[in-house]
Symmetry: C3
Subunit: 236 residues, 3 copies
């Protein structure tokens, strides 16, 4: 029952801690939260009540960039997780992102800094979310999807498994301007589809499985193909 809990951490007696849990300085944990074996809560993280954190999770990792990365590391503020959320095994969540209530981040998923995730949204297993992306409430991002940085995902959006998105149209260019796609309320992205930088998918629209969206999709339209073209209107 080897654990390491910093003296400056706030860990109520109602919390359930697994073996080999590490809690660093200045962490604040709410009542009734459970942390699985081998999980690490990094310095300054703020975790709500009744949160369930599975095994071998890393919470509140600070960003570190490689030599060739174009983003600089800065102080990103603490990670915050809302009440009743669930974090899966081997997930890696960065400092500087804020999660609402009853959010689910599944196993082996990872979310970078600067993101917001609304109440009751699901980030599926093996999903990767880059920096500074905004995710609304009740969004469902399914397994193995890649969510790029500087992207907007509104309430009730559905993204099928294995979908992909980008925030950079001129990949051979030198002047970089990152602009992620915008997915409006209640739209749906099919499995293994790809949404290019700057594309807006309007309310209730649908991009078919395996399609590549190179231009905006109007509200209520279904687009399919590589590149995606109008197929029909969404059935009522």
């Amino acid at each position: 029952m080897c654990r390491s809990i910093a003296e400056s951490a706030t860990v109520p007696e109602s919390c359930e801690l697994g073996c080999n849990v590490v809690i660093e300085n200045d962490v604040i944990i709410g009542e009734g939260t459970a942390i699985g074996h081998g999980s690490v809560i990094c310095q300054g993280s703020i975790i709500g009540s009744d949160v369930t954190i599975a095994q071998n999770v890393v919470i509140g990792k600070r960003p570190a960039s490689g030599a060739a990365s174009r983003r600089k590391v800065k102080d990103v503020g603490p990670l915050r997780i809302g009440d009743g959320s669930i974090i899966g095994a081997c997930a890696v969540l960065y400092a500087g992102s804020v999660y609402g209530k009853k959010v689910m981040v599944a196993d082996l998923a990872t979310v970078r800094e600067g993101c917001t995730v609304g109440d009751e949204s699901i980030i599926g297993r093996c999903v990767s979310v880059e920096c500074n992306t905004s995710i609304g409430q009740r969004a469902r991002i399914q397994t193995a999807t890649h969510v790029t940085g500087d992207m907007t995902i509104e309430d009730d959006v559905f993204i099928g498994p294995g979908a992909c998105s980008t925030n950079d149209r001129k990949i051979l260019g030198k002047d970089k301007h990152h602009k992620g796609p915008v997915l409006k309320k209640g739209c749906a992205i099919g499995s293994n589809a790809c949404i290019l930088a700057g594309v807006t998918v309007e309310e209730g629209a649908l991009l078919g499985a395996g399609s590549v969206a190179t231009r905006d999709i109007a509200a209520g339209e279904v687009h399919v193909g590589v590149p995606a073209r109008l197929l029909r209107k969404v059935e009522e």
Copy 2:
């Protein structure tokens, strides 16, 4: 050499246990099995003889659903792993699935509850398998593939890296009926291909790389494209 082994667990002396291993209540482990550093074996898991479990693995995780998930959590029974199987590092395997003999589940792969995996099948690195999927013997599911729930993969099926599958055709609809694809004996799915809900790929058929299968593929046929169409017969 910090370990936590429950008194009610059965761990023969012939087992080799790494540092920081956690074995919960009522676990049963066979002779000659090795468990790597930092791995967690959850309550009630049943592991055969001569199994190799790598480092930082989570075995027998119990399901937990997010607020917006449409599946309810139920008692799923124990996880069972057959003799001579190999489980990779940082893999996450749920309770309630049964693995045959000499199965390989590679690093960072994850398999949900209610699945069966036949003898000598390979589940590659970073593969995600959803609930209630049946995988036959000697199947080879390559790296980074997503296998949906309620899917059938028969003996000797090959799935290339990065392929994807879905079990839900009406993603904007409200009445949900999940029906995963059926991959018949010895068929092959190309890299980065996508197989939609309800599609059957017959024996020995082939779906090309990057293609999207929206309809059934007859035995011995090669289909390619988005959506996939007949290209030719498989060469003998």
Copy 3:
């Protein structure tokens, strides 16, 4: 503060070690290197100076094959990581690969044996790299990409998120000859694109997002579609 450090390991006092770190026999670590909580450094690994290794990482894992795998396990030599490199959380790196200086391997990425990775290259989050692949200097392999075995990626290559590659064209055939793609200096691969076995992408060429490259792409050309065809020349 539970740690297990083998007596035969070389760990300078200037190293910073987290809780529950395991360092096996004959490991050699340089000055000023930091290893996060729960990380495992396997036998014989050679790690440079000022390397940052995050939490729950597995470094120097020895290969193990499943019953149906066509590759045999052999002695692959030690893993070597150059000075100033950064390794992300829950990454799994095999023995027998050599990393240059200031390399970044991000969270949840995994690289098999027999690979070389040049100075200042980035291997993104959730990327999987198979055996015997050569990666040059300053390559940027983005999140969730699958890099096949026996592949060549030259200096300054860019691969967008979720791309895929294969080293086997005759997936139903019995005589296997693996030949990964060759990506020449400074070429770029779009997000979710797929490059088939044996394809060469020449210098400065570009494969569009979601495209499938079935044939070679000449220097300075842009190819798109499934299968990919010439669209235009790269703009100067």
